[in-house]
Subunit: 141 residues, 3 copies
């Protein structure tokens, strides 16, 4: 009986140890991008970089991607941004989460209805990127 | 006796495994910010971002924050920088570590007495940020 | 016999657990730098920062360093870049891996023979930095 309990304990430990060394279910890669630049080359590059990254990682287990928009970068998510509307919506349809920073929204007096309907929100864009890194996501700026 | 030793070994392993999956004591979140930009919008944004981040994370276990100043960003820590003196001192009083890169100090011929008295120092600003990331800190630039 | 098997199992678990908490063999520190800026101060700073970082970390277990060149930063690796040729080659001789992004090469119609012979390549510069971070490397931009 005691031996059985001990064997059980060892099994539990083994499972715990294996669990610690494994990645969570779902895509193999997790990447959070920062977009904090004002209108300019950084906006077009973001679309290109996210697409290229997802394509490269699709051949290697797939990726979960989130972009955090804050500071002057938040303006890329304004629904009046017709230049990028289609490309951003396509990213969203491809599963990329586009997250607006609520602090940046307050600073610029922007409401939810001023942003693209496919945009999500976080209390603080930087806190969001901190949490993602803590959860093992790679960070790209 | 042998069984007791074995049980002890299992206990030790269990503690080690649990230890590996736990965060250290203190605040839940740890963030190192990079400030390498010259005088301009980045300086004001830094203050705003650090404060917003700490506020957001205060509702979720608290945060330990460090800012590493290097390259042209070091100049933000010069005690002649009266525009930001008060805001930087307030960050320091709130527990934020403000770290000057000694390589940047040498390159610009700045001595300890040229910087705010509340500024700390690291041999290399980048090496400092590497060590923080290795210790599990999130990195924000 | 059963006890011996059990002891063996415990030993295996112990080794696995210890393995999880140890860094891989080789240098203690691993750093991937991003160079995505066009020609300007960022190019000279990169050389300075890599050298300073390696020097600082050499006194603390040593470092393995890689620089990923993408976007307009790729042009730093063009072999017509005589201003930086010598300094980049010296980095390479010091063991720093200089990696060109193939997406950036395609976008700019650059072939392998257009780049310095000591430059390596990755399918996607960002995917490369993601993989490095996943492998525990610190990321610096």
């Amino acid at each position: 009986m005691k031996k059985q309990l001990l064997s059980l304990a060892v099994l539990v430990i083994l499972v715990v140890c294996l669990g610690l060394s494994q990645t969570p279910a779902g895509p193999k890669h997790h990447v959070v991008f920062q977009l904090s630049e004002e209108s300019g080359p950084a906006w077009g590059s973001l679309i290109l970089h996210v697409n290229n990254t997802m394509k490269a990682l699709s051949e290697d287990g797939g990726s979960e991607v989130e972009v955090v928009f804050y500071g002057p970068g938040l303006l890329m998510l304004k629904k009046t941004n017709t230049v990028f509307a289609e490309r951003l919506e396509q990213l969203s349809k491809n599963g990329v989460k586009l997250i607006a920073c609520r602090n940046a929204m307050k600073n610029r007096d922007l409401k939810t209805e001023d942003l693209f309907p496919f945009a999500g929100q976080a209390d603080s864009g930087i806190a969001e990127m901190v949490r993602k890194q803590e959860a093992g996501w790679a960070y790209i700026h």
